[in-house]
Amino acid sequence: MSGHSSYVPKSGIERWLDVRLPIVRLMHDSAVSYPTPRNLNYFWTFGGILTFMLVAQIVTGIILAMHYTPQSTLAFNSVEHIMRDVNYGWLLRYLHANGASMFFVAVYVHIFRGLYYGSYKAPREVLWILGVVIFLLMMATAFMGYVLPWGQMSFWGATVITNLFSALPVIGETIVTFLWGGYSVDNPTLNRFFSLHYLLPFMIFGVVILHIWALHVVGQNNPTGVEVKNVAKDTVPFTPYATIKDIFAMVVFTIVFSWFVFYQPNFMGHADNYIPANPAVTPSHIVPEWYFLPFYAILRAIPDKLGGVVAMGSAIVVLAFLPWIDTSKVRSMSYRPIARQLFWAFVAVCIGLGYLGAMPAEGGYVTASQIFTVLYFGFFVALFIIGLFERPQALPNSIADSVLDTLKGGSGARLATATASEPNAKG
């Protein structure tokens, strides 16, 4: 989609730099003149929001690391020290802790948007798989970050999650001992988790660069799923259109984020994590952070240790295979009457699993988790089968056509002004 560079160096310095390191040209081509489909809706702003959240987490995290002590007897108190003694320490920690949750809110919207509009289909398979890799790295980072305060949930969360590997036959126990650096979760475990928690965000950053690179090679998908045919008619330049829209969405997102930070800073945490880690007592009800609950429910639904671990892993890995699971040629579910209903059912199943993951593992909750686990995987089977016979609705000829149709339906008077330069047409 990216054609010839339209960058023209304006000053002597820019001309000098351009023939030595064309970095300004690169930024101009990828963030200013880059053509974006003109019909993108607000679900497309979450990529920008996620980039913002990654940077915010890295900045607050680096600062927290300046005041935190990764030592099992001191870690808990050093977090309290950040909360009480460090100037604005409470703010930085609440930004970082709630930032993790908001990061996952944004990534789930981003993933479901890709799912609904078929953003994983050719030629965007690699783009999508890189996204799944980022998601996995995010999960690992969030998990290890949650261990660092060394409260009861930190300790027992670490115990339960590292023990998942003990389910592997033969090598499982050795892997767990190597993860712990001892015979149980202890100081060596805390030290290495801190080291890795600091490393992984930069690995995420690296994969994000690949993700954006792949995006700029294949171009953005759009709500119709129809590829750009005429750059002049179907697209608008990234700046100012996408830039302003992204900034606006980011501001709205930040308002919600701030509400949590300033009014409900512990809403998404667990009270048990304000009790220092005690290896002799497990909290009566262990639950992971909300963003892991659906996967946790799948883990507990299977009455077999290895089976549960395999099912949980598959629930994530199956996403990477979506480009080949979905057999339909039509990208956007806006034009797929059956798949669209299936999609919303899948959203409901994921929310249901999240609820069940937070409930105790007994009685009816276990049975319900088992049913929902079958439904979760059933979605992917159904997506494969439906694509074979589903009759899609008529697709618009082009992005520009779909925009004009919308305007016609909305207001006849607007039609006359709907020219290629009309910015309102983009929403």
Binding site: T159, N163, G181, Y183, I302
Partner: protein, 183 residues
């Protein structure tokens, strides 16, 4: 490369030998670098040294009572079982068990009242409840793991729930009538 010698030749040359030797040396060096990088993850000397044998006096543990202690950083339950609990453990038909073991295999002869097991659930490592008087003991008068609902009987054997194995018995021996040495 322009100056390369006849590349179509199938003869073994000194260059082929050098290529193989370099490749082999590279693989060996890589392995030599990986060993310390991975080995440092294993329990260190201090952690291993902390696992020396430990003496425990069982006399203060009253019948029906259980205590928790740590050896090698791992939690251990010592339970002084009641007559009823021992009888229940002996009455089980072991062919019905997920991890078949008799109660005799899990205790020392002549010291049946004392059950000594690791205190972490074999599912995902939580600490099962059942040591304190008010705790739920599960459906089999032993332990109940609150995390994922595993039930252990009064011999520490898995009876219900996701855990695959019985609570393991640590290595120990009676050094006197009411004294044990763990390790």
């Amino acid at each position: 490369m322009a100056h390369a010698t006849d590349t179509t030749s199938t003869e073994t040359t000194r260059r082929d030998f050098l290529m193989l030797a370099t490749g082999a040396a590279g693989v060996v060096s890589l392995g030599a670098v990986v060993v310390p990088l991975v080995s440092q993850l294993a329990p260190d000397a201090q952690t291993i040294a902390a696992g020396a044998p430990m003496d425990v006096d069982l006399a203060p543990i009253a019948e029906g009572q259980a205590i928790k202690l740590f050896w090698r950083g791992k939690l251990i339950f010592v339970r002084h079982r009641t007559k009823k609990e021992i009888d229940e453990a002996l009455a089980v038909d072991i062919s019905t068990l997920r991890d078949p073991q008799t109660d005799q295999q899990r205790t020392k002869p002549g010291h049946e009242p004392f059950l000594i097991v690791y205190g972490n659930c074999t599912h995902l490592g939580c600490v099962p409840l059942g040591n304190s008087p008010g705790d739920p003991k599960g459906d089999f008068d032993g332990w109940f793991c609150p995390c994922h609902g595993s039930h252990y009987d009064s011999s520490g054997r898995i009876r219900k729930g996701p855990a695959p194995l019985n609570l393991p018995v640590p290595p120990y021996a009676f050094s006197a009538d009411t004294k044990i040495r763990i390790g």
